[in-house]
Each structure stands twice: as C-alpha cells, then as structure tokens.
C-alpha cells in the first residue's frame, strides 16, 4: 500500500525564520511529486519534481527530491505571515491519474 508521511504535522514560527517541511514516501510506480500550498480553500501549485537531486526554486521557496532515500523537502526562507498555510505533498503514480495526497503540514507564521 502506498504511504506518504509529511512532517512535522504542524509548525509555528516567527517572521524571518527558515523552515523545512518533509515528505517521505513509499509508493509504487513513482512518476512525480508535487507540492501545493493550501490557504483557506483551494490548493495552489508550487513545484513538480521528477528527477532526483535537482532543486526547484521560486523566490523564497525551494524544493528538492531524493529518490534514493525516498523523500522531498520544501524550504521556505525568511518566512512571512503570508506563508501561513497547509503545505501538501502529492504524488502522481504511473498507471493512475488519481493523485495520492499527504495529510499536509500546517505552518503558522507569527509577526
């Protein structure tokens, strides 16, 4: 059975801190890993990772995948209150168009 574990479940930091969110997995037929940010209702797409060791970066956010050790991390530097959200790790598996969602990490950034 496919397994996705995100850690920590929740995190509270102050503005300016750097955070690292983890996603470890045991899935069959891995195709790609995606990170989403969910504020209020709708998740918004952040990154898609398919190759190991290649960092994706967007502003203060970056992510990398390690296919050997079966994990991905999402880094946020110089956090802002607007970064407060649930961050979802999602898998696309070969042979299925239905993504597998992690339970998410809840990040709260205090001013």
């Amino acid at each position: 059975e496919d397994k996705v574990v995100q850690s920590p479940l929740s995190l509270v930091v102050h503005e300016g801190d750097t955070v690292t969110l983890n996603c470890s997995y045991e899935v069959t037929n891995f195709r790609s890993l995606l990170w989403y940010k969910q504020e209020k209702k709708a998740p918004t797409f952040l990154f898609m990772l398919t190759s190991s060791g290649i960092e994706k970066k967007s502003g203060r956010l970056s992510s990398i995948l390690d296919k050997k050790e079966l994990f991905s991390i999402l880094n946020i530097t110089a956090t802002q209150t607007g970064d407060s959200a649930i961050y979802l790790c999602v898998f696309a598996l070969g042979g299925s168009y239905i993504p597998t969602f992690g339970r998410g990490t809840s990040l709260i950034v205090h001013p």
Partner: protein, 115 residues
C-alpha cells in the same frame, strides 16, 4: 487568464434535498477532478474526467453522488438526498495533461452545509 471557477461558493441545504455544484475548468484543460474536504481532513478524491473517456468514479462515496461533464468542459456534481455527513468543501481542479504533467489548478471550492 481565467482560472477554475465554481458555483455557488456557499450552499446551505436541508437534509434530504438535492444539490448541484458547478465547475468551469480552465479552457483547454482536458482533465477535471472533483474532491471533497471535510473540516480538518485531507482531500478526498471523488471523480475524474479525461476528455471523452468514461470517468473514473471510484471515489464516489455512495450512489447518491453523480457527476457529468458536458462537451468536455463544464462539470456538475449532483448529490441527491443530502445527509449531514455530506457537509464539506467540494473542490474542482483541472489539468492540462492526461499524463506527464500532473499539476492541477483548483477552483475556490463550494462550501456545502447540510442542516
């Protein structure tokens, strides 16, 4: 360009009534997904449409739930004889590719409350 839109944004209904939720995907996106999210829970897959293929209904929780997609674009999720446990946020997402790229673009959701 325009993103995924959903209507209504909020719906309050009495137990036993039928409801219809609408999703307008991004133009040109061939794949469309429906999810629901109960309070404090993760996203639960409901149904997937891809082009003109038969939908994958494996996530629908009961036969009270149905969905259709007309002309490969707009989709309607129908819940018959609503129950209180149907209360949740219903999210629609569209994707430009059937494979290769799985990034999905989500609508703002419909919050359904069954009283």
């Amino acid at each position: 360009g325009a993103g995924v839109s959903q209507s209504p944004s909020n719906k309050v209904t009495e137990k036993g009534k039928d409801v219809e939720l609408r999703c307008d995907p991004i133009s040109g996106h061939t794949a469309l997904y429906w999810y629901r999210q109960s309070l404090g829970q993760g996203l639960e897959f409901l149904i997937y449409f891809q082009g003109n293929s038969a939908p994958d209904k494996s996530g629908l929780p009961s036969d009270r739930f149905s969905a259709e997609r007309t002309g490969g674009s707009v989709s309607t999720l129908t819940i018959q004889r609503t129950q209180q446990e149907d209360s949740a946020v219903y999210l629609c997402a569209s994707s430009p590719h059937s494979g290769g790229s799985y990034e999905q673009y989500f609508g703002p959701g419909t919050r359904l409350t069954v009283t």
